[in-house]
Amino acid sequence: MSAVDLAALAGAVTRAKARMATLEQELNVADSRLGDGDTGVMLARVIDAMAGIDYAAQPDIGAALSLMARKTATATGSSLGTLIATGLLTVGKRAKGEPSIAYADLGAHVAAVVEAMAARGGATLGDKTVLDILDALARGIAGLSDGKAVASAATDACRTTLAEFRERPCKIGRARMFAEKSIGMDDPGMLAVHELVLAIAGPAA
Protein backbone atom coordinates (compact mmCIF):
# COMPACT_ATOMS: atom_id res chain seq x y z
CA MET A 1 0.00 0.00 0.00
CA SER A 2 1.49 3.34 -0.96
CA ALA A 3 -1.44 5.65 -0.38
CA VAL A 4 -4.16 6.53 2.09
CA ASP A 5 -7.47 5.48 0.57
CA LEU A 6 -10.96 5.51 2.05
CA ALA A 7 -10.44 2.15 3.72
CA ALA A 8 -7.19 3.29 5.28
CA LEU A 9 -8.84 6.48 6.46
CA ALA A 10 -11.67 4.50 8.03
CA GLY A 11 -9.13 2.25 9.72
CA ALA A 12 -7.22 5.20 11.09
CA VAL A 13 -10.41 6.67 12.57
CA THR A 14 -11.26 3.32 14.14
CA ARG A 15 -7.83 3.12 15.78
CA ALA A 16 -8.08 6.71 16.95
CA LYS A 17 -11.49 6.03 18.47
CA ALA A 18 -10.17 2.96 20.29
CA ARG A 19 -7.28 4.99 21.69
CA MET A 20 -9.66 7.66 23.01
CA ALA A 21 -11.08 5.19 25.54
CA THR A 22 -8.15 5.95 27.80
CA LEU A 23 -6.64 8.99 26.07
CA GLU A 24 -9.71 11.11 26.86
CA GLN A 25 -8.90 11.25 30.53
CA GLU A 26 -5.15 11.68 29.92
CA LEU A 27 -5.82 14.75 27.78
CA ASN A 28 -8.25 16.24 30.26
CA VAL A 29 -5.63 15.95 32.94
CA ALA A 30 -2.96 17.52 30.72
CA ASP A 31 -5.32 20.38 29.82
CA SER A 32 -6.37 20.97 33.42
CA ARG A 33 -2.73 21.69 34.28
CA LEU A 34 -2.43 24.40 31.65
CA GLY A 35 -5.93 25.22 30.46
CA ASP A 36 -9.52 24.38 31.21
CA GLY A 37 -9.32 20.60 31.31
CA ASP A 38 -11.57 19.73 28.41
CA THR A 39 -9.31 18.68 25.53
CA GLY A 40 -10.15 15.02 26.02
CA VAL A 41 -13.94 15.37 26.33
CA MET A 42 -14.01 17.49 23.21
CA LEU A 43 -11.72 15.26 21.17
CA ALA A 44 -13.59 12.10 22.13
CA ARG A 45 -16.81 13.69 20.91
CA VAL A 46 -15.21 14.81 17.66
CA ILE A 47 -13.69 11.42 16.92
CA ASP A 48 -17.02 9.79 17.75
CA ALA A 49 -18.63 12.00 15.14
CA MET A 50 -15.95 11.04 12.61
CA ALA A 51 -16.48 7.36 13.40
CA GLY A 52 -20.12 7.77 12.46
CA ILE A 53 -19.22 8.47 8.83
CA ASP A 54 -19.69 5.71 6.24
CA TYR A 55 -16.31 6.09 4.55
CA ALA A 56 -16.92 3.45 1.90
CA ALA A 57 -19.88 5.47 0.69
CA GLN A 58 -17.85 8.65 0.08
CA PRO A 59 -17.10 9.58 -3.54
CA ASP A 60 -13.41 10.31 -2.93
CA ILE A 61 -10.85 10.94 -0.23
CA GLY A 62 -11.18 14.71 -0.53
CA ALA A 63 -14.93 14.52 0.02
CA ALA A 64 -14.42 12.23 3.00
CA LEU A 65 -11.97 14.64 4.61
CA SER A 66 -14.27 17.60 3.98
CA LEU A 67 -17.14 15.70 5.57
CA MET A 68 -14.93 14.98 8.56
CA ALA A 69 -14.20 18.70 8.77
CA ARG A 70 -17.91 19.49 8.64
CA LYS A 71 -18.74 16.95 11.38
CA THR A 72 -15.99 18.37 13.54
CA ALA A 73 -17.16 21.93 13.08
CA THR A 74 -20.71 20.93 13.96
CA ALA A 75 -19.61 19.03 17.05
CA THR A 76 -17.52 21.76 18.68
CA GLY A 77 -16.32 25.31 18.64
CA SER A 78 -13.30 24.68 20.89
CA SER A 79 -9.85 25.87 19.84
CA LEU A 80 -8.41 22.51 19.01
CA GLY A 81 -11.61 21.24 17.42
CA THR A 82 -11.84 24.28 15.19
CA LEU A 83 -8.20 23.90 14.19
CA ILE A 84 -8.79 20.24 13.38
CA ALA A 85 -11.75 21.19 11.22
CA THR A 86 -9.60 23.82 9.50
CA GLY A 87 -6.87 21.26 8.85
CA LEU A 88 -9.22 18.61 7.54
CA LEU A 89 -10.92 21.07 5.25
CA THR A 90 -7.54 22.17 3.89
CA VAL A 91 -6.53 18.64 2.91
CA GLY A 92 -10.04 17.88 1.78
CA LYS A 93 -9.88 20.71 -0.72
CA ARG A 94 -6.36 19.76 -1.85
CA ALA A 95 -7.38 16.15 -2.43
CA LYS A 96 -10.78 16.91 -3.92
CA GLY A 97 -11.75 14.25 -6.46
CA GLU A 98 -8.78 12.00 -5.68
CA PRO A 99 -9.38 8.35 -4.75
CA SER A 100 -6.47 8.44 -2.31
CA ILE A 101 -3.52 10.43 -1.03
CA ALA A 102 -0.11 9.08 -1.91
CA TYR A 103 2.25 8.66 1.05
CA ALA A 104 4.74 10.70 -0.88
CA ASP A 105 2.35 13.67 -0.81
CA LEU A 106 1.35 13.36 2.84
CA GLY A 107 4.13 15.63 4.11
CA ALA A 108 3.12 18.45 1.82
CA HIS A 109 -0.52 18.12 2.88
CA VAL A 110 0.42 18.30 6.54
CA ALA A 111 2.60 21.34 5.83
CA ALA A 112 -0.44 22.99 4.25
CA VAL A 113 -2.46 22.10 7.34
CA VAL A 114 0.11 23.82 9.54
CA GLU A 115 -0.09 26.92 7.41
CA ALA A 116 -3.87 27.00 7.46
CA MET A 117 -4.02 26.43 11.22
CA ALA A 118 -1.48 29.16 11.86
CA ALA A 119 -3.48 31.57 9.73
CA ARG A 120 -6.71 30.67 11.52
CA GLY A 121 -5.43 30.53 15.08
CA GLY A 122 -2.79 33.23 14.99
CA ALA A 123 -0.11 31.16 16.69
CA THR A 124 3.40 30.76 15.32
CA LEU A 125 5.87 27.93 15.38
CA GLY A 126 7.63 27.74 18.70
CA ASP A 127 4.55 28.69 20.73
CA LYS A 128 4.24 25.07 21.94
CA THR A 129 1.00 24.06 20.26
CA VAL A 130 -0.24 21.43 17.82
CA LEU A 131 1.45 23.49 15.14
CA ASP A 132 4.91 22.51 16.32
CA ILE A 133 4.28 18.80 16.36
CA LEU A 134 2.47 18.85 13.00
CA ASP A 135 5.29 20.88 11.50
CA ALA A 136 7.85 18.34 12.70
CA LEU A 137 5.64 15.56 11.37
CA ALA A 138 5.37 17.23 7.95
CA ARG A 139 9.12 17.63 7.74
CA GLY A 140 9.80 14.10 9.04
CA ILE A 141 7.69 12.30 6.44
CA ALA A 142 8.34 14.68 3.54
CA GLY A 143 8.91 12.69 0.36
CA LEU A 144 8.79 9.27 1.98
CA SER A 145 6.70 6.88 -0.05
CA ASP A 146 7.05 3.60 1.79
CA GLY A 147 4.33 2.92 4.34
CA LYS A 148 6.66 1.59 6.99
CA ALA A 149 9.10 4.43 6.49
CA VAL A 150 6.29 7.00 6.78
CA ALA A 151 4.99 5.37 9.94
CA SER A 152 8.33 5.21 11.65
CA ALA A 153 9.36 8.70 10.58
CA ALA A 154 6.00 10.02 11.83
CA THR A 155 6.28 8.40 15.24
CA ASP A 156 9.92 9.47 15.57
CA ALA A 157 9.11 13.06 14.70
CA CYS A 158 6.25 13.16 17.19
CA ARG A 159 8.26 11.57 19.97
CA THR A 160 11.21 13.90 19.56
CA THR A 161 9.09 17.02 19.28
CA LEU A 162 6.90 16.27 22.28
CA ALA A 163 10.00 15.63 24.40
CA GLU A 164 11.78 18.70 23.12
CA PHE A 165 8.86 21.07 23.71
CA ARG A 166 8.07 19.64 27.11
CA GLU A 167 11.04 21.61 28.43
CA ARG A 168 9.91 24.86 26.81
CA PRO A 169 7.31 27.40 27.97
CA CYS A 170 3.82 27.75 26.46
CA LYS A 171 3.45 31.01 24.61
CA ILE A 172 -0.21 31.12 23.66
CA GLY A 173 -3.62 30.44 25.02
CA ARG A 174 -4.76 29.92 28.53
CA ALA A 175 -1.36 29.02 29.98
CA ARG A 176 0.23 32.28 28.86
CA MET A 177 0.41 33.84 32.31
CA PHE A 178 2.23 30.80 33.56
CA ALA A 179 4.83 30.42 30.90
CA GLU A 180 7.46 29.19 33.34
CA LYS A 181 5.04 26.93 35.19
CA SER A 182 4.30 25.20 31.90
CA ILE A 183 7.90 24.04 31.58
CA GLY A 184 8.02 20.29 32.11
CA MET A 185 4.40 19.84 31.04
CA ASP A 186 3.08 18.54 27.75
CA ASP A 187 0.82 20.81 25.72
CA PRO A 188 -2.48 18.88 25.51
CA GLY A 189 -2.86 19.50 21.77
CA MET A 190 0.65 18.21 21.07
CA LEU A 191 0.06 15.26 23.35
CA ALA A 192 -3.13 14.43 21.47
CA VAL A 193 -1.34 14.41 18.12
CA HIS A 194 1.50 12.34 19.54
CA GLU A 195 -0.75 9.69 21.01
CA LEU A 196 -3.05 9.47 18.02
CA VAL A 197 -0.18 9.25 15.52
CA LEU A 198 1.29 6.45 17.60
CA ALA A 199 -2.07 4.70 17.75
CA ILE A 200 -2.65 5.05 14.00
CA ALA A 201 0.87 4.48 12.71
CA GLY A 202 1.91 2.04 15.40
CA PRO A 203 0.44 -1.08 13.78
CA ALA A 204 2.03 -0.05 10.49
CA ALA A 205 5.42 0.87 11.91
Partner: protein, 332 residues
Protein backbone atom coordinates in the same frame (compact mmCIF):
# COMPACT_ATOMS: atom_id res chain seq x y z
CA UNK B 1 -20.32 17.08 42.52
CA UNK B 2 -23.95 16.37 41.76
CA UNK B 3 -26.09 17.87 39.05
CA UNK B 4 -29.81 17.82 38.44
CA UNK B 5 -29.64 16.95 34.78
CA UNK B 6 -30.58 14.23 32.33
CA UNK B 7 -28.11 12.86 29.73
CA UNK B 8 -25.00 15.07 29.78
CA UNK B 9 -25.17 15.33 25.98
CA UNK B 10 -28.60 16.99 26.33
CA UNK B 11 -27.52 19.50 28.97
CA UNK B 12 -27.21 22.54 26.70
CA UNK B 13 -30.25 21.85 24.56
CA UNK B 14 -32.50 21.19 27.54
CA UNK B 15 -31.17 24.31 29.23
CA UNK B 16 -32.06 26.33 26.14
CA UNK B 17 -35.52 24.77 26.02
CA UNK B 18 -36.00 25.82 29.63
CA UNK B 19 -34.78 29.33 28.89
CA UNK B 20 -37.24 29.88 26.08
CA UNK B 21 -40.07 28.18 27.99
CA UNK B 22 -39.51 30.42 31.00
CA UNK B 23 -39.06 33.65 29.03
CA UNK B 24 -40.97 33.31 25.77
CA UNK B 25 -41.51 37.06 25.58
CA UNK B 26 -37.76 37.68 25.67
CA UNK B 27 -35.97 34.83 23.93
CA UNK B 28 -36.47 32.82 20.78
CA UNK B 29 -34.30 29.87 19.90
CA UNK B 30 -33.45 30.03 16.25
CA UNK B 31 -31.08 28.86 13.48
CA UNK B 32 -30.65 25.47 11.88
CA UNK B 33 -28.00 24.75 14.50
CA UNK B 34 -30.65 25.44 17.18
CA UNK B 35 -27.82 27.15 18.99
CA UNK B 36 -28.84 30.77 18.65
CA UNK B 37 -30.95 32.83 21.01
CA UNK B 38 -32.35 36.02 19.55
CA UNK B 39 -34.72 38.71 20.72
CA UNK B 40 -38.34 37.62 20.49
CA UNK B 41 -39.18 40.66 18.40
CA UNK B 42 -36.34 40.01 15.94
CA UNK B 43 -33.73 42.39 14.56
CA UNK B 44 -34.77 46.00 14.14
CA UNK B 45 -34.31 47.35 10.63
CA UNK B 46 -31.91 50.25 10.57
CA UNK B 47 -30.26 49.40 13.88
CA UNK B 48 -26.71 48.11 14.21
CA UNK B 49 -26.78 44.54 15.48
CA UNK B 50 -24.81 43.50 18.55
CA UNK B 51 -23.99 39.80 18.71
CA UNK B 52 -22.22 37.77 21.33
CA UNK B 53 -21.55 34.10 21.85
CA UNK B 54 -19.52 31.65 23.85
CA UNK B 55 -19.57 28.35 25.64
CA UNK B 56 -22.44 27.28 27.87
CA UNK B 57 -22.16 27.04 31.63
CA UNK B 58 -21.96 30.76 32.41
CA UNK B 59 -25.59 31.81 32.71
CA UNK B 60 -26.86 34.49 32.64
CA UNK B 61 -23.82 35.07 30.41
CA UNK B 62 -24.00 35.17 27.42
CA UNK B 63 -27.49 34.31 26.28
CA UNK B 64 -29.29 35.97 29.15
CA UNK B 65 -28.23 39.42 27.97
CA UNK B 66 -30.17 39.25 24.74
CA UNK B 67 -32.72 42.00 25.03
CA UNK B 68 -33.60 45.58 24.30
CA UNK B 69 -30.64 47.88 24.97
CA UNK B 70 -28.31 44.89 25.15
CA UNK B 71 -27.62 42.07 22.64
CA UNK B 72 -29.62 41.20 19.56
CA UNK B 73 -28.56 37.57 19.42
CA UNK B 74 -26.13 35.08 20.82
CA UNK B 75 -24.54 31.86 19.58
CA UNK B 76 -24.16 29.11 22.15
CA UNK B 77 -21.47 26.47 22.38
CA UNK B 78 -21.31 23.31 24.41
CA UNK B 79 -20.31 23.72 28.02
CA UNK B 80 -17.02 25.65 28.12
CA UNK B 81 -16.46 25.26 24.35
CA UNK B 82 -16.67 27.99 21.75
CA UNK B 83 -19.81 28.28 19.61
CA UNK B 84 -19.66 26.47 16.28
CA UNK B 85 -19.10 28.45 13.10
CA UNK B 86 -22.63 27.65 11.92
CA UNK B 87 -24.18 29.07 15.06
CA UNK B 88 -22.02 32.20 14.74
CA UNK B 89 -23.11 32.70 11.13
CA UNK B 90 -26.73 32.31 12.12
CA UNK B 91 -26.43 34.62 15.10
CA UNK B 92 -24.91 37.35 12.94
CA UNK B 93 -27.59 36.98 10.29
CA UNK B 94 -30.36 37.10 12.88
CA UNK B 95 -28.93 40.32 14.36
CA UNK B 96 -28.59 42.05 11.05
CA UNK B 97 -30.81 45.07 10.57
CA UNK B 98 -28.99 46.32 7.48
CA UNK B 99 -26.53 48.59 9.29
CA UNK B 100 -23.86 46.05 10.14
CA UNK B 101 -23.17 43.82 13.13
CA UNK B 102 -20.70 44.10 15.99
CA UNK B 103 -19.29 40.80 17.20
CA UNK B 104 -18.65 41.32 20.91
CA UNK B 105 -17.40 38.28 22.80
CA UNK B 106 -14.72 37.01 25.17
CA UNK B 107 -11.14 36.55 24.08
CA UNK B 108 -10.87 32.76 23.78
CA UNK B 109 -9.26 30.87 20.92
CA UNK B 110 -12.23 28.82 19.82
CA UNK B 111 -14.70 31.69 20.02
CA UNK B 112 -12.37 33.92 18.03
CA UNK B 113 -11.73 31.42 15.27
CA UNK B 114 -15.40 30.65 14.82
CA UNK B 115 -16.59 34.25 14.87
CA UNK B 116 -13.76 35.12 12.47
CA UNK B 117 -14.76 32.36 10.07
CA UNK B 118 -18.39 33.39 10.33
CA UNK B 119 -17.45 36.94 9.42
CA UNK B 120 -15.46 35.71 6.45
CA UNK B 121 -18.37 33.60 5.21
CA UNK B 122 -20.67 36.61 5.43
CA UNK B 123 -18.31 39.32 4.23
CA UNK B 124 -20.17 39.94 0.98
CA UNK B 125 -23.51 40.13 2.76
CA UNK B 126 -23.07 41.82 6.14
CA UNK B 127 -20.52 44.29 7.39
CA UNK B 128 -19.10 43.09 10.70
CA UNK B 129 -16.64 44.40 13.27
CA UNK B 130 -15.09 42.70 16.29
CA UNK B 131 -14.46 43.73 19.88
CA UNK B 132 -13.05 41.17 22.29
CA UNK B 133 -13.72 41.14 26.01
CA UNK B 134 -10.30 41.22 27.70
CA UNK B 135 -11.06 42.28 31.25
CA UNK B 136 -9.40 39.49 33.29
CA UNK B 137 -6.27 41.12 34.72
CA UNK B 138 -5.03 37.79 36.06
CA UNK B 139 -4.71 36.26 32.60
CA UNK B 140 -1.94 38.45 31.16
CA UNK B 141 0.15 41.40 32.24
CA UNK B 142 -0.62 45.07 31.45
CA UNK B 143 1.94 44.92 28.63
CA UNK B 144 -0.17 42.25 26.93
CA UNK B 145 -3.68 43.61 27.53
CA UNK B 146 -4.92 42.26 24.22
CA UNK B 147 -4.13 38.73 25.28
CA UNK B 148 -6.25 38.86 28.40
CA UNK B 149 -9.27 36.58 28.69
CA UNK B 150 -12.77 37.97 28.79
CA UNK B 151 -14.83 37.38 31.93
CA UNK B 152 -17.74 39.02 33.79
CA UNK B 153 -16.80 42.60 32.89
CA UNK B 154 -17.93 42.10 29.30
CA UNK B 155 -21.49 42.88 30.40
CA UNK B 156 -20.51 46.55 30.69
CA UNK B 157 -19.56 46.51 27.02
CA UNK B 158 -22.87 44.78 26.20
CA UNK B 159 -24.71 47.54 28.00
CA UNK B 160 -22.82 50.46 26.47
CA UNK B 161 -22.78 49.07 22.92
CA UNK B 162 -26.39 47.91 23.20
CA UNK B 163 -27.58 51.34 24.32
CA UNK B 164 -25.55 53.10 21.65
CA UNK B 165 -26.95 50.83 18.94
CA UNK B 166 -30.47 51.40 20.23
CA UNK B 167 -29.84 55.14 19.83
CA UNK B 168 -29.28 54.62 16.12
CA UNK B 169 -25.51 55.04 16.10
CA UNK B 170 -23.37 53.74 13.23
CA UNK B 171 -21.45 50.47 13.30
CA UNK B 172 -18.24 52.43 13.75
CA UNK B 173 -19.61 54.34 16.72
CA UNK B 174 -21.04 51.23 18.35
CA UNK B 175 -17.76 49.43 17.84
CA UNK B 176 -15.82 52.34 19.25
CA UNK B 177 -17.87 52.54 22.44
CA UNK B 178 -17.67 48.78 22.92
CA UNK B 179 -13.90 48.88 22.64
CA UNK B 180 -13.71 51.92 24.90
CA UNK B 181 -15.81 50.16 27.53
CA UNK B 182 -13.68 47.01 27.36
CA UNK B 183 -10.59 49.18 27.69
CA UNK B 184 -12.10 50.80 30.78
CA UNK B 185 -13.04 47.55 32.52
CA UNK B 186 -10.95 45.33 34.80
CA UNK B 187 -11.94 42.08 36.53
CA UNK B 188 -10.31 39.67 38.91
CA UNK B 189 -11.78 36.46 40.32
CA UNK B 190 -11.16 34.21 43.28
CA UNK B 191 -12.22 30.57 43.32
CA UNK B 192 -13.11 28.43 46.34
CA UNK B 193 -14.36 25.25 44.73
CA UNK B 194 -14.47 23.81 41.22
CA UNK B 195 -17.35 22.87 38.97
CA UNK B 196 -17.92 19.82 36.86
CA UNK B 197 -18.47 19.84 33.10
CA UNK B 198 -21.53 17.59 32.52
CA UNK B 199 -20.31 14.13 31.68
CA UNK B 200 -16.74 14.74 32.81
CA UNK B 201 -15.36 12.24 35.28
CA UNK B 202 -13.75 14.88 37.47
CA UNK B 203 -13.92 18.58 38.18
CA UNK B 204 -11.57 20.63 35.99
CA UNK B 205 -9.34 21.30 38.99
CA UNK B 206 -8.94 20.23 42.58
CA UNK B 207 -8.38 22.52 45.53
CA UNK B 208 -7.81 21.82 49.21
CA UNK B 209 -10.65 21.98 51.73
CA UNK B 210 -9.14 25.17 53.18
CA UNK B 211 -7.68 26.76 50.07
CA UNK B 212 -8.62 29.50 47.63
CA UNK B 213 -7.08 30.46 44.32
CA UNK B 214 -6.69 34.10 43.32
CA UNK B 215 -7.08 34.96 39.65
CA UNK B 216 -8.53 31.66 38.51
CA UNK B 217 -10.31 31.77 35.15
CA UNK B 218 -13.99 31.03 34.63
CA UNK B 219 -13.16 27.61 33.16
CA UNK B 220 -10.72 26.82 35.95
CA UNK B 221 -7.67 28.18 34.17
CA UNK B 222 -4.80 28.47 36.66
CA UNK B 223 -4.64 31.67 38.70
CA UNK B 224 -1.98 33.80 40.36
CA UNK B 225 -1.63 32.12 43.70
CA UNK B 226 -3.20 29.44 45.82
CA UNK B 227 -3.21 29.76 49.59
CA UNK B 228 -5.23 29.14 52.74
CA UNK B 229 -8.66 30.70 52.94
CA UNK B 230 -8.35 34.22 54.34
CA UNK B 231 -10.87 36.62 55.87
CA UNK B 232 -13.17 38.17 53.27
CA UNK B 233 -11.85 41.68 53.92
CA UNK B 234 -8.28 40.62 53.24
CA UNK B 235 -9.30 38.93 50.01
CA UNK B 236 -11.37 41.92 48.94
CA UNK B 237 -8.55 44.33 49.75
CA UNK B 238 -6.10 42.45 47.58
CA UNK B 239 -8.54 42.25 44.70
CA UNK B 240 -9.35 45.97 44.85
CA UNK B 241 -5.68 46.84 45.05
CA UNK B 242 -4.87 44.72 42.03
CA UNK B 243 -7.72 46.29 40.08
CA UNK B 244 -6.77 49.85 40.99
CA UNK B 245 -3.08 49.21 40.27
CA UNK B 246 -4.13 48.08 36.82
CA UNK B 247 -6.54 50.97 36.22
CA UNK B 248 -6.44 52.71 32.84
CA UNK B 249 -4.25 55.79 32.66
CA UNK B 250 -6.15 59.02 33.03
CA UNK B 251 -9.19 57.35 34.52
CA UNK B 252 -11.88 59.45 36.14
CA UNK B 253 -13.04 59.06 39.72
CA UNK B 254 -16.36 57.38 38.96
CA UNK B 255 -16.68 53.60 38.62
CA UNK B 256 -19.35 51.01 38.39
CA UNK B 257 -18.67 47.88 40.44
CA UNK B 258 -19.85 44.35 39.78
CA UNK B 259 -19.49 41.79 42.57
CA UNK B 260 -20.40 38.58 40.81
CA UNK B 261 -20.94 35.06 42.13
CA UNK B 262 -19.18 32.33 40.18
CA UNK B 263 -22.16 30.15 41.02
CA UNK B 264 -22.32 28.56 44.44
CA UNK B 265 -21.23 31.57 46.47
CA UNK B 266 -24.37 33.04 48.04
CA UNK B 267 -25.60 36.60 48.08
CA UNK B 268 -24.72 36.93 51.76
CA UNK B 269 -21.01 36.54 50.96
CA UNK B 270 -21.22 38.80 47.92
CA UNK B 271 -22.69 41.52 50.12
CA UNK B 272 -20.04 41.09 52.80
CA UNK B 273 -17.41 41.54 50.10
CA UNK B 274 -19.30 44.39 48.41
CA UNK B 275 -19.38 46.29 51.71
CA UNK B 276 -15.59 46.12 51.91
CA UNK B 277 -15.02 46.91 48.24
CA UNK B 278 -17.22 49.98 48.57
CA UNK B 279 -15.36 51.26 51.59
CA UNK B 280 -11.95 50.64 50.00
CA UNK B 281 -12.95 52.39 46.81
CA UNK B 282 -14.34 55.31 48.70
CA UNK B 283 -11.12 55.50 50.75
CA UNK B 284 -9.28 55.63 47.41
CA UNK B 285 -11.33 58.66 46.40
CA UNK B 286 -13.45 56.75 43.93
CA UNK B 287 -17.19 57.13 43.66
CA UNK B 288 -19.37 54.10 42.95
CA UNK B 289 -22.35 54.48 40.67
CA UNK B 290 -24.71 51.77 39.45
CA UNK B 291 -23.32 48.88 41.51
CA UNK B 292 -24.27 45.31 40.60
CA UNK B 293 -24.23 42.42 43.08
CA UNK B 294 -25.38 38.95 42.16
CA UNK B 295 -25.14 36.14 39.63
CA UNK B 296 -24.11 37.84 36.38
CA UNK B 297 -21.46 35.52 34.89
CA UNK B 298 -21.09 32.12 36.48
CA UNK B 299 -19.27 28.85 36.02
CA UNK B 300 -22.17 26.61 36.97
CA UNK B 301 -21.65 25.47 40.58
CA UNK B 302 -18.12 26.88 40.94
CA UNK B 303 -17.69 28.63 44.31
CA UNK B 304 -16.02 32.01 44.40
CA UNK B 305 -16.65 35.47 43.08
CA UNK B 306 -15.25 38.10 40.79
CA UNK B 307 -15.00 41.84 41.16
CA UNK B 308 -15.17 44.07 38.10
CA UNK B 309 -14.58 47.80 37.92
CA UNK B 310 -15.75 49.80 34.96
CA UNK B 311 -13.99 53.16 35.00
CA UNK B 312 -16.56 55.56 33.68
CA UNK B 313 -16.33 58.48 31.34
CA UNK B 314 -19.34 60.66 30.74
CA UNK B 315 -20.56 58.77 27.73
CA UNK B 316 -20.12 55.31 29.19
CA UNK B 317 -21.97 56.34 32.35
CA UNK B 318 -24.79 57.85 30.34
CA UNK B 319 -25.08 54.69 28.27
CA UNK B 320 -25.08 52.45 31.36
CA UNK B 321 -28.01 54.48 32.67
CA UNK B 322 -30.12 54.05 29.54
CA UNK B 323 -32.98 51.54 29.60
CA UNK B 324 -32.19 47.88 29.13
CA UNK B 325 -34.53 44.96 29.32
CA UNK B 326 -33.59 41.35 29.77
CA UNK B 327 -34.82 38.94 32.44
CA UNK B 328 -31.37 39.12 34.02
CA UNK B 329 -30.47 42.77 33.75
CA UNK B 330 -32.99 45.51 33.68
CA UNK B 331 -32.37 49.23 33.79
CA UNK B 332 -35.51 51.33 33.83
Amino acid sequence: MKKLMNAPADFVDEMLDGLTAAYPASFVRDGESRRVIRRAEGARQGKVGVVSGGGSGHLPLFTGYVGKGLLDSCSIGNVFEGPTVDSCIEAIKLADGGKGVLRLYGNYGGDRMNFDMAGEFLEDEIKTTTVLGTDDIASAGPNEMGKRRGVAGIIYAYKAAGAKAEDGASLEAVTEIAQRTVDATRTIGVALNPCLVPGAAQPSFTIGEDEIEMGMGIHGEPGIWRDKLKPADEVADEMVKRLLDDAPKGRGSRVSVLVNSLGATPLEELLIVYRRVASQLSAAGTQIVLPLVGHYATSMEMAGLSISLCFLDEEIEALLRKPAESPFWRVA
